[in-house]
Amino acid sequence: MRKTERILIALVVFAICVWFLFPTIKWYGFVSAEDKALTNATVLQVKEYSQGQAESVLNYLKENISSEVPKEYSFVLTLAKEQVKGKGNTDVRTCADVLSAFSATEDDGQALKDAVEQYCRQHIQDLKELSSKALQLGLDLKGGMSILLDVDPSSLAERLGREPSESEISAAIDEDIEILKSRIDQFGMAEPEIRRQGDSQILIELAGTPDPSRVDAFLKGKGLLAFHLADTLTTQRVIAYFESNSEEYAQIMDALANDLPFTQPSIIPQDRMLAGVFYTDEYGLEQLSSVVVIYRQAALDGGYLLSAQTSKDSTSNQPTVAVKLSDEGGSIFYDFTKAHIGQPLAIVMDGHVKSVATIRDALSTNVQISGFTAKEAENLAILLKTASLPISVTISSQQTVGASLGEDSVRIGMKAIIYGFFLVVLFMVVFYSWSGLIADIALVMNLVIMIATLGGFGSTLTLTGIAGLILSVGMAVDANVIIFERIKDELKAGVLPKKAVSTGFSKALWTILDSNITTIIAAVVLIFFGSSAVRGFATTLAIGIVSSLFTSLFLSHLLMDLTVGERISISWRRRYAVNEEN
């Protein structure tokens, strides 16, 4: 291969690595601690933050009409410019300019608030995206909770009435993962990470300090969904009753909105109860909209549910949710709906009424629920799907690492690694002189490739991953040492520098390949068979070996070829500095 081609390849690899490394550098170097914390916020916190920000921006602008917009709020200038685009006056500088751009001087500034809120939401979204591209620290380093679940195939066998096949179990586990994901989303946990592990395990990782009771709630969500018959007549009477008892009404609404216990109004019969009707807002949070009276006894619960998906009614073109029930559930539901045609049916999730639909026909295993907007239908389909797990799970292990412990160990650990790295770099220069510097360049490049690859694959850096990183750096140094020793041997035998370099590399080639291939065999086996902690180690090691092969055999070789001419500087001992007969 010609030198120019080799240089080109090296530059292309370098460019690709920098591209993948960029988010990591941006995240750790240029994102403020407050912004980092925002990415861990739950949907509720995001909402509160955005609205709070909108409020304070508006207040500030109104109070400081004549001054310039301060730096911390400079984004509103961009928003205002966007607003006045094409309307002539594009010179927006002061607070008054911004207010007038949104015509906020005349009204209550709702348009401005909406724009700011929208901007904040987008800002957090962008940050979340950036953080997902950057190399993140594992839970053992930054703190959080990890839960390992064992699935129990016998529960699936029970539901199917026969032994499930391997592919059925596998599909059920995938469905479990989807359900757990949406449940966690609904419970407002921050940044969940759910994945399958091995044949029969599910790993859930939650960053920060999740509330244990909420974790319990989403794990034990089974049977929370149910169909209840609603009572229209009593509902109307209750609403009329509330009109004359506004104090009790306020109390009950407050209790319903916050899931607190309350005393049922006396006019409701014993077998029925008052429940809140909730809708999901744009943040994905549930909001109380009205109340309805439902029968306490559920007509059917979610345990009978097989699947749910959105579709369109063929005649009316209205969005509908198609629900599939098990055979047993179908026959129960058929008997029930047949007896109650024309009556309203409430779909209840976790005590919240999600929708009320009128029974038009006797229904069996295939149930069409209509009367929503497309978005609502989609939400409902997700909701119905999240009702119960097709294959039940038990907690195999659960680990919580306090954020303080994580932070501390990371800070000290990083410091120690940096010290160690500098010692190694220094050592190489001292003992191998200028050639040592080439090895150091290869070493740094090795680290760049590793971090870029880990970040690019979206992996996290765990404690055992750092162990793999250290071993890889060690092996990269070793490869260079083997090469240099070979070159020195050649020089001692009186070979000219240029020839010594090429012979040295070719002699070292198989030694390095052999030692690295045996190690990569071990790493690959561990990736496939090891537990999750071991796997983190093996993945980093495998990536490190490949990159160290590239840096030592290709990059170092190229740099040596480029720098070595008549003279070579490869030892602290002067006598190798120039070629000398031995």
Partner: protein, 339 residues
């Protein structure tokens, strides 16, 4: 500067003796002292707490928790840190949450200020799967490495490198038992790292030894092998020193898991370097000397190494090589490879 040289093979009784003594000591430790099994290997709840009361002693912590049956309390880090690990097994009808709450309440009664650093729950199934999973992975990896080294070198080399690895793992386990570290994901990671490190070392040394054997057919096997080991000695030293340079700051500065990892690594690097230089080569020598297994490459004919080319130019041919082999079969203490 005087070059340091080891008579690795000549003094093999000493080197093998040291390895045997250390191995016996490790096995004895494993049998009689056993392991401080980490929470990863036992089902139960483990809670790490930091108690801010400066005058709190470990006895106070134990006493405050005395009503929990079978509770174990240990110091983490240095003893004046105020950090403790509390471990307890769960009975059938207890949940993790209940136990954590109980520990919280009991500590709250005795100490004015404390914080929970870490808490984990391990189910019975998890611990057994971690052990069997790790063992299975290591066994498969060793088998594949054996096959690879067999193909690239010869079976004697494969046996030598695997024995060296087993030596490293046993000594590491013995060390862990002696120091009283936990067997956990962390220490397993350290052992795996050393397996990789030592294997790498052994292969590099074997490569030199093989080259040395090929190139010097007319000398005593022992001195040829010694030459091979010594010619890679500066590389071995450099690599070990650089690895130690990377790990020592970690052992000095950090705490907890990272620190136990680093300490295990330092021990492992020393042991791994020893086994690659002195144990693996002597196993190879013993196998080659007694002719139990051939340590020369069979396909010498296709060998294009400098040594082989030079040999051919000097008029080396098949019958002579066969004669060498038959000579060796008659057996002498130190066979000479005649060309």
């Amino acid at each position: 500067m005087k070059k340091i040289e080891f008579n690795v093979v000549k003094h093999r009784t000493i080197y093998l003796g040291i390895a045997c003594v250390l191995l016996l000591a490790s096995v004895a430790l494993l049998v009689f002292k056993g392991f401080n099994l980490g929470i990863d290997f036992e089902s139960g709840v483990s809670v790490s707490v930091k108690i801010d009361d400066s005058d709190a002693l470990i006895e106070d912590v134990r006493q405050s928790l005395s009503q929990i049956e079978g509770v174990r309390v240990q110091n983490i880090g240095s003893s004046d840190d105020g950090r403790y690990q509390i471990r307890v097994k769960l009975s059938d009808n207890q949940t993790q949450r209940e136990m954590e709450n109980l520990i919280n309440t009991l500590l709250g009664r005795r100490f004015s200020s404390f914080s929970v650093l870490e808490s984990s729950f391990i189910g019975a199934k998890f611990s057994s799967s971690l052990v069997t999973g790790s063992l299975k992975a290591v066994a498969i990896a060793l088998a594949l490495i054996l096959v690879y080294v067999w193909i690239r070198f010869k079976v004697a080399y494969a046996i030598g490198s695997i024995l060296a690895l087993i030596h490293d793992v046993l000594l590491m386990l013995g060390f862990i038992s002696l120091i009283g570290f936990e067997i956990s994901s962390t220490t397993i990671a350290a052992i795996l790292t050393i397996i990789g490190y030592s294997l790498n070392n052994t292969i590099v040394i074997f490569d030199r030894v093989r080259e040395s054997i090929r190139g010097n057919h007319n000398q005593e096997l022992s001195s040829v092998m010694d030459y091979g080991v010594n010619s890679s000695l500066s590389r071995t030293t450099f690599s070990s020193v650089t690895t130690l340079l990377a790990v020592i700051p970690l052992a000095i500065l950090s705490s907890g898991d990272v620190r136990s990892f680093a300490i295990c690594m330092i021990f492992g690097v020393v042991v791994g370097t020893y086994s690659s230089n002195f144990l693996a080569t002597n196993v190879l020598y013993t196998l080659g000397r007694t002719n139990a297994l051939d340590i020369l490459k069979q396909e010498e004919e296709e060998d294009l190494s400098d040594a082989a080319v030079a040999k051919r130019m000097l008029g080396d041919d098949e019958p002579k090589l066969k004669k060498v082999k038959s000579d060796r079969k008659k057996g002498g203490n130190d066979p000479k490879i005649l060309v």
